[in-house]
Amino acid sequence: MHSNRYIIIYSTIMVVLVATFLTIVAIGLKPKQDYNKRVEKMQNILASVHIPSTTKNAEKLFKQYIVDQFVINIRNEKQNQINAFDVNVEKERKTAVEKRLLPVYVCKTENQEIKYIIPVYGKGLWGPIWGYIALNEDKNTVFGAFFDHKGETPGLGAEISTIEFQNQFKNKKIFDEQGNYKSIKAIKGGAASTDNHGVDAISGGTITSDGLSKMLYDDLKLYETFLKSKN
């Protein structure tokens, strides 16, 4: 039988050794992991403008198609000193609305059309959901949408990350004919085909669908001045 003193010393040494070792591993691998996250972000942004990419070619395609990126605030004033790609949309949610940094990516497609890509971030049922909305040059009609989630229920809320769900957003509109801000809602029971501001919600994924509607409404609202401006 080992003495109490032995047990305490044994466990202390073990814990310190293990902690040191894990720290070294974590620090050593961090640059590689951060790079993977950046590539994933590029792939997500490209997905919103229907450009398929792999982890290998994402960086190249991103440089090729994303011709400009800038940061604005809620009054559509450019914040020149900051790089849009480095803005952490999740962290920005905690800052006051007036001070919030709003990134915009500008994409030029193969047919030389300009698309504006806006990141959105919100809450689903179990955790965060996020995405990118690509708008046509009129800053009103949706060209494409991409959504992802941390841990929504597979088969229910998690369906927001499927192509079928995301394709519904094409040609929907942010503003109505009078120019009032409407955003796009996921409608339970299905949206009418003539509805410019609604898509079919996910059966069994009501809270995720509602979270998605709220995310779009809140986050696109921040860009209202930018979207209404002509340049």
């Binding site: 080992h2 044994y10 073990m14 894990l22 591993v25 691998l29 992991q33 590539v39 994933e40």
Partner: protein, 213 residues
């Protein structure tokens, strides 16, 4: 002087083959089922999971066996957990750094290797009382026994569920044109359970000694 055993003595080979057949962790001991259901929709995550578990079982058995004479028996479970958790975190970090897409698919299941009963079971039952080399072989073999079943299930589910193997289409278009369809049930978790049941059935009808009286 203790007698030096050769590294491939018959006893070692028996230790190695046991978990692959007679004493398979999934089909005989029915351990580690939850991850077997969750990560076998496609072959690639199943392969990565099998490899991760094999590495963790192998090295945790080796480390625990090396330490076995120093571990105070009153805290041995805690020591085992620390060793397993450390290895799992390292594997998780490596996956995030080198196979990010697969690590996203495996998500929580890599972390849950810590609670995989196969690993602690082997440490308690074997590594604490045996020398490092046999313990290492026992750990690796149990990880592989688990992995083989995972890969079989992953192979069948991906082939019939999405018509692909490792993400590449293998079912010719002509077959789809004459009316063949992918089986959607294969993608859902219950099918993994049914497949494991079928594997257990085949295993037992082939190895009669496994059938309980």
């Amino acid at each position: 002087m203790e007698n030096k055993e050769s590294i491939f003595s018959p006893k070692i080979i028996k230790t190695f083959l046991g978990p692959l057949n007679q004493n398979n962790p999934i089909s005989v001991q029915v351990l580690g089922i939850c991850s077997a259901l969750a990560v076998t929709v496609q072959l690639k995550p199943a392969l990565v999971m099998a490899l991760s578990v094999t590495i963790v079982t192998g090295f945790s058995s080796l480390i625990i066996s090396l330490l076995r004479n120093t571990i105070p028996s009153r805290i041995r479970i805690i020591v085992q957990l620390v060793v397993i958790a450390t290895l799992v975190i390292i594997v998780d970090q490596l996956l995030k750094a080198y196979v990010y897409d697969v690590s996203k698919k495996l998500s929580v299941f890599v972390g849950l290797i810590i609670t995989n009963c196969i690993i602690m079971g082997r440490l308690e039952a074997y590594a604490l009382g045996n020398k490092p080399w046999p313990s290492f072989v026992d750990g690796i073999a149990n990880g592989m026994g688990y992995g083989i079943i995972l890969i079989m299930v992953g192979f069948i589910r991906e082939l019939f569920g999405s018509g692909k193997i490792l993400g590449m289409s293998v079912i010719p278009d002509s077959l789809y044109q004459i009316g063949y369809e992918n089986n959607g049930l294969m993608i859902l978790p219950p099918m993994a359970l049914i497949l494991i049941g079928v594997i257990i059935w085949i295993h037992r009808s082939w190895n009669k000694t496994l059938i309980e009286k």
